[in-house]
Symmetry: D2
Amino acid sequence: MANSKYEYVRTFEQSDILLPNTWIVVRIDGRGFHKLSDRYAFEKPNDRRALDLMNVAAVEVLKDLPDLAIAYGVSDEYSFIFHPSCELFERRSAKLVTTIVSTFTAHYVYQWSNYFPDTPLQSPYLPSFDGRAVVYPTTRNLRDYMSWRQVDCHINNLYNTTFWNMVLKGGMSNTDAERELQGTVSSDKNEILFKRFGINYNNEENIYKKGSVVFRQYQLEETKAESVSKTSQDLGEEETAAPENVSKSQQEKIRKLRRKAQVVVEHVDITKDDFWEQRPWILSGKPGKLPAEV
Amino acid sequence: MANSKYEYVRTFEQSDILLPNTWIVVRIDGRGFHKLSDRYAFEKPNDRRALDLMNVAAVEVLKDLPDLAIAYGVSDEYSFIFHPSCELFERRSAKLVTTIVSTFTAHYVYQWSNYFPDTPLQSPYLPSFDGRAVVYPTTRNLRDYMSWRQVDCHINNLYNTTFWNMVLKGGMSNTDAERELQGTVSSDKNEILFKRFGINYNNEENIYKKGSVVFRQYQLEETKAESVSKTSQDLGEEETAAPENVSKSQQEKIRKLRRKAQVVVEHVDITKDDFWEQRPWILSGKPGKLPAEV
Amino acid sequence: MANSKYEYVRTFEQSDILLPNTWIVVRIDGRGFHKLSDRYAFEKPNDRRALDLMNVAAVEVLKDLPDLAIAYGVSDEYSFIFHPSCELFERRSAKLVTTIVSTFTAHYVYQWSNYFPDTPLQSPYLPSFDGRAVVYPTTRNLRDYMSWRQVDCHINNLYNTTFWNMVLKGGMSNTDAERELQGTVSSDKNEILFKRFGINYNNEENIYKKGSVVFRQYQLEETKAESVSKTSQDLGEEETAAPENVSKSQQEKIRKLRRKAQVVVEHVDITKDDFWEQRPWILSGKPGKLPAEV
Amino acid sequence: MANSKYEYVRTFEQSDILLPNTWIVVRIDGRGFHKLSDRYAFEKPNDRRALDLMNVAAVEVLKDLPDLAIAYGVSDEYSFIFHPSCELFERRSAKLVTTIVSTFTAHYVYQWSNYFPDTPLQSPYLPSFDGRAVVYPTTRNLRDYMSWRQVDCHINNLYNTTFWNMVLKGGMSNTDAERELQGTVSSDKNEILFKRFGINYNNEENIYKKGSVVFRQYQLEETKAESVSKTSQDLGEEETAAPENVSKSQQEKIRKLRRKAQVVVEHVDITKDDFWEQRPWILSGKPGKLPAEV
């Protein structure tokens, strides 16, 4: 029995293939996490358990999708990056985004009880995430995107740390704290923290100040002085090979190499050149050397 | 501290707003469910627990998103339908698709242990789903889409029921069964089932033959003979009001009314007019009458 | 000699196929026609030669593309409409839009000297047009689009007629006339025209008040009272046949029938039902009866 | 009088903004030029008048749109290139493509009689062009696109030159010539030309062998040996400044500078580095030095 009478409806699907040879950024965000964090009593200004849960889910996504080059997470959002040479799912936008969103959600829900043993999830109040894909033509644009998110992390964390200290330790109302912070600059907030609460913001934990960077670990490259300036200058440089030049079997081989690498989470500065120069495999898309076994 | 130096990267996001006044179909599919069903020992040809789990997740999605008009599920796929008047998330495609995929995944993982108490999920082998949005301009196109999926359900289920009986009860190898079924039509399969295994396909359960239809329950309308032909003839007719004619507050009011209705799962024929005429609220987008309380 | 080394660049072309079963509107606009009308001394408020030139170019476009159902022009803009069943150029947006823009431009430039014999075109000050495609899901949406343009025509023409009479006959400066008209409604402008210049706006030529409607001429259908209300009510009704149902050879046959019909220009009301009921071939996409030969 | 009742139809227009920081290629092609060249008796294999007419139209397009960096033409097609920093028409695809197609068509029709004084255009057989936009993320991709078109020019011209000599001078039928050429490589065709017709393909005119390159002329830069290799190596390097960094007034200033430069047509090799190194303003997007006035 054929299904031909109705099958014409398939022609209504429209192509959503992302431009070749561009960086693909899939950013996901918690849906209604303000309410969710109230319901499950997340700690303020940062709940370490919630961040660790985000990170473990992100690590699983990177393990599941060897095509991913790097990811960056802060608060209830995570950005996952595919290299310009990525051909996964023929670069179909919806397929890439939903695969990441769904895999992330599955691990987040599955691992919840390991991180919040005392506050089990209660249906229908389950965590969920939305997402979108954006493409960037050059490495400079990609690095600026990453810097944008990390600078945002810093701005928000300094604000939140100050705000919640004023409220929780200083006994101020939310409204009063908000009003006092309006129009302040970074140094003002640093001063409030130090003078009123004896807190040196620089000593706060890096996971809060820098967010979380997730990537495959290979042997670090040494950074030479001259290479720094060179890289800095050539940042726009792209992998110029035509997409066709990497065969399907080569791609599969690269995927296997990537699966062997350990996926790690670090809380480091990614706005500077150092991070990228020491880990050239992230921007090059070519697997590095596995750490020597002893 | 401003973030202006990097903020330009936001301009790279491209609009993905779906055409107004069209039906939005979001179809999600299990990723690698062939492997998954092996790992967790799903029963063949149909695993009732797995279908019930799909359905409970779909019901939660409809409860969470009152804008949804109806959903249809078969095997490891589900189609969720928004009415042409839907303005949720400004009709942004990625936002609509990822919200559904993520909410569905969360409930599927969360409820797993209720349906598979003896085969708990094991990381990293977690279920996940991908998805995409397609829009349809007319009610005829939408109904043809729904019929396409239900006819597909029937074709696949008849095949699978025959195949697995030949293998499991008939002791044939997969290859032999496949070869014998090649080129057969429905009546051939019905005969195999009946003659060899004493199975009358018509007596199989509707959940397997018809799939699952999920919608809000209001009082059914009576179907009159004349109305049948009329509806049949006017099927292309659309809600012609301009999108602006429904104010935001009216939309919110409609959402509240919808939340009051019970979300039900039925296993019925949706290729004929009857289903749609008795439940005019699905195609009209206007809430029906709640069942009278006794 | 192969070209394979560079041919990969073709993969960067992205699909721009318009949604099936929707009305396609291609609207073109004169580029910088304010300057152009000054340079070639167009008459104010309307230059009949310029409008006739627009119309002759539009007629040639309809003759060249039998897939076009109707067109509507006002001032230096023209809207060309393809029926939902149109499969021309596989419905590729750029191909449809550029073909219309280029064909229109070619005839406009070619015919210029017939309409402006005393003011020949001077390079590089040549007329040109830009364009875009928009799709509409229902006939109601399409007719509202057409009404939008015709109501716009009326609003602008009443304003311009009043303004230029105040300036050219009334001796006012542009600024003074503009200031006086600010905030006026239709009846105010009608009164200014009548009291100061003895002009009854209703007696102005229809080409200025109604714009120009271009379509293929067949035998008009009689409009019955009941049919009026019916059509009015069923306006959202679509051609519901699947695109596949019309074969390529049938399409070619329809094209030939259409080429036989005369393309006419009329200046009539298209906001009411009458126009569309008398010419059912426009919305149905099926050629009417050719006028009886005597 | 307001137009609000119908104005909602504007919301159906969908965004078509091209990805920022990418090269925009608008390629236009003659519609049905095979027939057209027969009707107006174009010479075979190349009609110098037709190519000169294409080129003069392209030059006018570059003069009209200072944002254009370069154009390349062969046969009845032309590619126009905008720099990644281009913000013209907010990078709306349809607007960019139709403006180029229409301006090109206007000049082509207007200038026809200067190049074909003995075969005037006859309505409705007017030349027209279709077009499309494609974006390329890196300079390497852009240069590969340009090389693709120029290599195609060479392949086609060698074939056509051989074919038409076999037919016109050799007295062969089209079918016989086609059959003999099937499967031949370049050297075969060179030999046929030389042995049978005494033609050294290398001595053919460059306009036929290389196509036409159109750009703004500034003082050429000297090419140093080391710079050659450097450029070659850094080809993927992009203009990395954020789009915002160039203000609107700066853009206008750059446009004025560009208008002062002469637009020239050359028939040179653009697949090698030399062309691009000597004219760095094309890839940099920054105007060069105007030739010293004597």
